[in-house]
């Protein structure tokens, strides 16, 4: 069943992961502004993530990617605008929203003195998941991520990549309809990166949605159904890779080139490259 509203195509996918009818966008942000003192972190930002979609949020450092994700989690209050996740407002119904989201923070913040086993027990208890399904998910993912050797060691003693794996398992543990992943592949080895990418693909095939932030263009190019480029708290472009190419007349150009064009960084990058070349190689040329 297809329905068109506000220029957006809504496809009825049937029963979603949480058992609800997924006809609405799973993530909807309209006209959101966030201000920290005099600093405008998000400026009238709007985006939508539909079921079955991997939405990549791209932007330079400090562009507002993490803030956007925190607004969706209800961790940061928007000064203006509306936010809905699975039809709920994160500030008014935080428990409803958080129970439908799997979240991985940029620095994989977890309780470092706990072991992964203790940590998963805590997460499962907080999410009120039944023992059988929790054990099934944890066993499979821990096995896939090779966590056996580290399962009972304090998280503080694990490497960055292993901590990221623990955070990812905790985000998938309740099989939520929406995954909010802030730089999810940080520190992961090639095998684990592949596993995460496959998990994301499987998740959207089952009607879920993924919104993830990254600044690695190849990953965004590979995985994303749609890409939103964000700069200075504003969405400067949204669309599929082809749509972005057509917007910038960049036929055949890579996402990195498009990104630099859209964020008006092309000339600045060229200038910096020239300065670096001068600084490092001027002696050699002389």
């Amino acid at each position: 069943m297809v329905e068109i509203r506000d220029g957006i195509i809504y496809i009825k996918l049937g029963v979603g992961l949480s058992g609800e009818l997924a006809v609405e966008p799973l993530v909807e942000v309209s006209g959101v502004s966030v201000r920290f003192g005099s600093f405008l972190a998000l400026d009238n930002l709007s985006l939508r993530v539909m079921p079955g979609e991997v939405f990549g949020l791209l932007g330079p450092n400090g562009a507002g990617k993490t803030t956007t994700i925190k607004v969706l989690m209800g961790l940061v209050a928007a000064s203006f605008g509306n936010v809905k996740v699975c039809g709920f407002n994160p500030l008014l119904e935080p428990v409803a929203v958080k129970s439908r989201i799997g979240y991985v923070a940029e620095n994989s913040i977890v309780y470092e003195s706990l072991s992964p086993r203790d940590f998963f027990e805590f997460v499962v208890s907080m999410r009120n998941i039944d023992s059988v399904s929790a054990n099934r998910v944890v066993s499979r993912l821990a096995d896939v991520f090779d966590l056996a050797q580290y399962f009972d060691s304090p998280i503080a003693t694990l490497s960055m990549g292993l901590k990221q794996k623990v955070a990812l398992i905790a985000a998938f543990i309740h099989q939520p309809p929406v995954l909010l992943l802030d730089e999810p592949l940080n520190g992961l080895d090639a095998k684990s990166s592949r596993v995460v990418k496959d998990l994301m693909s499987l998740h959207v095939q089952r009607g879920g949605a993924v919104l993830f932030s990254t600044h690695i263009m190849e990953i965004a190019e590979q995985l994303c159904t749609r890409i939103g480029i964000i700069d200075h708290g504003k969405v400067v472009a949204v669309g599929t890779l082809d749509q972005l190419r057509s917007k910038t007349d960049g036929k055949g150009s890579s996402l990195e080139d498009l990104f630099l064009k859209l964020t008006n960084e092309e000339s600045a990058v060229a200038e910096r490259s020239r300065m670096l070349r001068e600084a490092f190689f001027s002696n050699e040329t002389h």
Partner: protein, 469 residues
């Protein structure tokens, strides 16, 4: 490298330790709103936060050093009130023992950051020789206890010089205070290492769990023992004085072999007190032994700090998990279990597991000398329990550290988090009314109504669950 240069550079790892320990515990009440205002900004205020962390650490060090001065002076206070009830030997011994306990307690709280290599990561990437690197790390370690050590040494030396007017006694007191400080820091470092090693052991076997629980209880008993020493010097002083003044030469001789009594007896001897020659020689021999002991323990501390900085001092045990089974529970029970686990793995907060035992002992101690259980005894016991009950939420919040940021992403209300903490606090307070009630069965109270007072207190602690943060 010049010592001044090494001292200057040592502010880098020191700053890192201070910043990390505060940033990880940004929700602690003591520090006010450290880091909270800028929680939403990425790193714009990191420099300001780092400066603030240093200011807080300095303030903290000054307060602790002042408190240490006060506890070092208390055993000498009788001299200033014209009383000669207690001898100089017992005052010196007790002052040294109390400052030892206090310094150990404080150092255990602060040195836990040193037992990981995090603070020297940046320094280790710079082109600095291994010896200089160790020296800088050692200085950064000294920086965390400098005010405390200098303050207690100065205070004790000045007091002895003033009371004895003997430069030799003052010089001996200086040596004794220095040894005391070296021993305190060494013991704290050793205990922190033992705790850290135990914490890194991991594993979930029954043997490991029993061992870990036992260790946490012993840890708590040790810290509480030091606390007891700090809180009841006037109970100890008469007993100590009687023992040191004992006519039994053998008892005096045996005591003279142990620090800090050996120092106390020697200082007393130099000030003109009459002490048997046999005991004086024993004390002198013991002091020489302790000076050597302090030299070696200082060297051990130096070596340990060096190993920690190099990251080679701690072996991490990785035992392969046999299964991936996890136990599920209700959200409240899950949060309580998490709080208990996290708190037991933090050397600064693990002590509270022994509070129920400690409270029972104190209640029994308070009631031991009375024939009837008076309302005043009940009130004192209840107030003591209430003070501990105030400390527990602080300890629980401290141990949450950065993890609270994760907890906020889970579908739980802040009220549930508070409920978990209120429940743990209530459970740790509960031994007070129970112990008083049991005592009342043997020592009849003036009125049975008084025994109910601490039970009313339970209601007010439980009511904390209605708070929000």
């Amino acid at each position: 490298m010049k010592l001044t240069e090494a001292w200057r550079l040592s502010s880098l790892p020191y700053r890192e330790v201070v910043y990390r320990s505060l940033a990880q515990e940004r929700n602690r009440m003591w520090w006010g709103s450290f880091g909270r205002k800028s929680a939403n900004k990425d790193s714009a205020d990191d420099v300001e936060l780092s400066k603030k962390a240093l200011r807080i650490a300095k303030f903290d060090k000054i307060i602790i050093a002042l408190f240490n001065l006060v506890v070092a002076i208390i055993p000498f206070s009788s001299f200033f009130f014209g009383s000669t009830a207690f001898g100089l030997s017992s005052s010196v011994s007790l002052s040294l023992a109390i400052t030892f306990g206090f310094m150990t307690l404080y150092a255990i709280q602060t040195l836990s950051s040193f037992v990981s290599t995090d603070s020297s990561v940046l320094l280790s990437t710079l082109p600095v020789s291994q010896d200089d690197f160790s020296l800088i790390t050692l200085f950064s370690f000294v920086r965390s206890v400098d005010y405390l050590v200098v303050g207690s040494i100065l205070c004790q030396v000045i007091l002895v010089a003033y009371l004895t007017l003997s430069p030799l006694a003052a010089a001996l007191m200086f040596v004794a205070s220095l040894i005391n400080s070296v021993f305190a820091v060494t013991v704290a470092l050793w205990l922190s290492r033992v705790f850290h090693k135990n914490y890194l052991r991991g594993g979930r076997s029954k043997r490991t769990t029993v061992f870990r629980d036992l260790f946490v209880l012993l840890w708590g008993c040790l810290l509480m023992g030091v606390g007891l020493l700090l809180s009841v010097p006037y109970y100890i002083l008469p007993i100590l004085d009687n023992t040191l003044q004992s006519a039994n030469v053998l008892v005096g001789f045996l005591l003279s072999l142990f620090f800090p009594f050996s120092a106390g007896l020697l200082v007393s001897q130099l000030s003109g007190s009459i002490i048997p020659l046999f005991t004086t020689f024993g004390a002198l021999a013991a002091m020489i032994f302790y000076v050597l002991g302090a030299w070696f323990s200082g060297k051990w501390s130096l070596g340990t700090v060096k190993l920690i900085a190099q990251g080679t001092g701690v072996k991490i045990d990785r035992s392969r998990a046999i299964d991936f089974q996890i136990k599920t529970s209700s959200p409240l029970r899950g949060y309580v279990m998490k709080d208990l686990r996290v708190t037991s793995r933090n050397p600064a907060t693990a002590f509270f597991f022994v509070l129920p035992i400690f409270e029972t002992v104190i209640v029994a101690f308070l009631a031991s000398n009375v024939e009837f259980l008076r309302a005043s005894t009940v009130l004192v016991a209840t107030s003591m329990g209430a003070i501990f009950a105030l400390l527990i939420p602080l300890a629980l919040l401290n141990s949450e550290g950065k993890g609270i940021e994760y907890a906020k992403t889970l579908p739980i209300t802040s009220q549930r988090m508070v409920s978990a903490k209120a429940l743990i606090t209530t459970l740790t307070f509960f031994p007070v009314p129970v112990a008083l009630f049991c005592l009342a069965l043997f020592k009849p109270p003036n009125s049975w109504f008084t025994v109910l007072i601490p039970f009313f207190m339970v209601i007010s602690i439980v009511s904390a669950r209605s708070l929000r943060f």
